[in-house]
């Protein structure tokens, strides 16, 4: 009985992976064949990018601030508080800016995509769209994927900038250190591979957030309860995948540009 159940679960997993791969591939390739829904892309960019700016800005600022607080306490033991700026900037740009922004945007937008598309599925609006001769993948999914990739890239830059500012605020106002030194160390500590790592990651994270959110939404079954389940699954899966992808990307990029 247990083996049968295991067998079914494994088959289901493989099938879901197969469906997801086809779904994600088709959604990406739709950009290269007309019609391309640019107005939907702009609308989604506004919803995802502008709509997420406040949470990204706040989370970035306070993450930088807490990094400065924590690091200065440790660094002061070695008499190295002057490198707080370098520590905050490197941590934000290489790791936390992209990952935290990804997780924040995932919580806000993967859930919204899954619930919106899921509701459309259970009320037959997706079928109606198909019956009216419009491909829902092209109309609903492709614009969301490209809008998320584009906007997450810029949101990560905003989060990084505000993280460094948060660190500066703590360094200057709480730790009473020199602000110029903080920024100078932050600037001098950065190398091209650090910036490249920080800017490549959001491209992958954006793709994960939108494709997972839309995939769960478009495969919703079981009425309104199913919409709830899809929403939860979308947020959990995309958040976990962001962290897994972060590890893999870091590993690959470090092999190209060792620290």
């Amino acid at each position: 009985m247990a083996i049968l159940s295991l067998d079914r679960t494994a088959k289901q997993l493989v099938l879901t992976l197969q469906d997801y791969s086809i779904f994600a591939w088709r959604s990406m390739m739709n950009l290269f064949r007309p019609p391309v829904y640019w107005s939907d892309f702009l609308m989604q960019s506004d919803i995802i990018g502008v709509g997420s700016i406040s949470i990204v800005l706040l989370s970035g600022f306070f993450t930088g601030a807490v990094l400065a607080l924590q690091s200065s306490a440790t660094l002061s033991a070695f008499g190295a508080t002057n490198i707080t700026g370098r520590f905050v900037a490197l941590t934000m740009i290489r790791e936390l800016g992209a990952v935290l922004t990804g997780i924040m945007v995932s919580g806000r937008n993967a859930s919204s995509m899954a619930s919106e598309l899921g509701s459309m599925v259970v009320t037959e609006q997706i079928d109606a769209m198909r019956a009216l001769g419009v491909d829902p993948l092209r109309k609903l999914v492709t614009p969301r994927i490209y809008a998320t990739i584009t906007m997450l890239f810029f949101l990560t830059i905003v989060a990084n900038a505000f993280g460094i500012l948060g660190g500066a605020a703590v360094t200057v106002f709480l730790n009473h250190q020199n602000g110029t030194q903080y920024f100078s160390m932050a600037w001098e500590g950065l190398r091209f591979p650090d910036v490249a790592q920080g800017l490549v990651k959001p491209l992958f994270f954006g793709y994960i957030i939108a494709s997972i959110g839309c995939f769960y939404g478009m495969n919703t079954t079981g009425g309104t309860q199913g919409v709830g389940k899809s929403t939860i699954s979308a947020v959990v899966t995309s958040s976990v995948l962001i962290i897994v992808a972060d590890f893999l990307i870091t590993h690959v990029m470090l092999s190209f540009w060792p620290s």
Partner: protein, 277 residues
């Protein structure tokens, strides 16, 4: 006695069935929902699919325009085998059909204007003014011109179905699929909806397939015609039925009846008899 209204109109040129379903079987993680189902819809014909709730009527309708794919058998739409087509190949064929969903399936974030004109807007071939004019004409057909700028959430259930009919009709489809268009509506609203369907059948002569479990709607369609002069549905003379409106009945995944109203009421199948009683 049956009545044919067709001789008064232009003779039909095309005799190829609009829909030809051949030995179709489909299941969803269990026993077959439809099992070896075959039937045809001829040009100008209206077919009424009867059956209890949950018997697979909506599934059958979705198979016709490729929203679902059969496990076995084939579906020919306008002469083209669609069960092997991919989504891109299906889109132009679907654009030639109009479908009215069970609950209307209107896009709740769009106005009635954008819902009804959706297909035209997406095609991008017509100007905004032309689309507005066509949307108004379609809404006038269903008697809802005043809802042009409203959102679906502010409409009643009956109004939503009528808007859904207007959306299905706007592009003058070559086939209409109605999925329980009167389900859950009061008798007066149901009669209004049936009147619109009869109007479409008799005025534009569009072939259609109507799914319902309401016998009174099915019988009304067979025993009434649309009078264009009076602009209302009127009963046919006693004992006369519409010859191009025929019936099918589904039970336990199989098509257990296919014939005229006369055949239906005289059918000896115990399930058909029980259903009619």
């Amino acid at each position: 006695m049956s009545l044919s209204l067709l001789p008064e109109l232009e003779p039909l040129k095309d005799t190829l069935p609009v829909v030809d379903m051949r030995h179709v079987t489909i299941s969803f993680d269990g026993p077959p929902v439809l099992n070896d189902v075959s039937f045809r819809v001829a040009p100008g014909e209206t077919r009424i699919l009867l059956g209890p709730a949950g018997v697979g009527k909506s599934v059958l309708l979705k198979l016709i325009n490729g929203l679902l794919n059969p496990e076995k058998g084939s579906v020919l739409l306008f002469g083209d085998e669609i069960s092997l087509m991919n989504e891109q190949e299906l889109l132009p064929l679907r654009a030639r059909t109009g479908m009215v969903f069970q609950e209307g399936a209107l896009f709740d974030s769009l106005t009635v204007r954008d819902n009804v004109g959706y297909q035209l807007i997406e095609e991008g071939k017509l100007s905004g003014e032309k689309i507005d004019a066509m949307v108004k004409e379609s809404l006038r057909f269903v008697g809802l011109e005043q809802t042009f700028s409203l959102f679906p959430s502010s409409l009643s259930g009956g109004m939503r179905r009528r808007v859904a009919i207007a959306r299905a009709l706007i592009n003058q489809p070559e086939l209409l699929l109605y999925d329980s268009p009167t389900g859950g509506l009061d008798p007066v609203t149901s009669t209004n909806i049936i009147s619109l369907i009869v109007k479409q059948r008799d005025v534009r002569r569009t072939p259609s397939l109507l799914v319902t479990h309401r016998l009174q709607d099915a019988f009304m369609m067979c025993t009434h015609r649309f009078d264009e002069e009076k602009d209302e549905m009127v009963p046919l003379p006693k004992g006369v039925t519409h010859s191009k409106t025929t019936f099918m009945m589904l039970n336990e995944g199989r098509l257990i009846f296919d014939g005229s109203l006369h055949d239906l009421v005289h059918c000896e199948n115990p399930f058909v008899k029980e259903f009619l009683e």
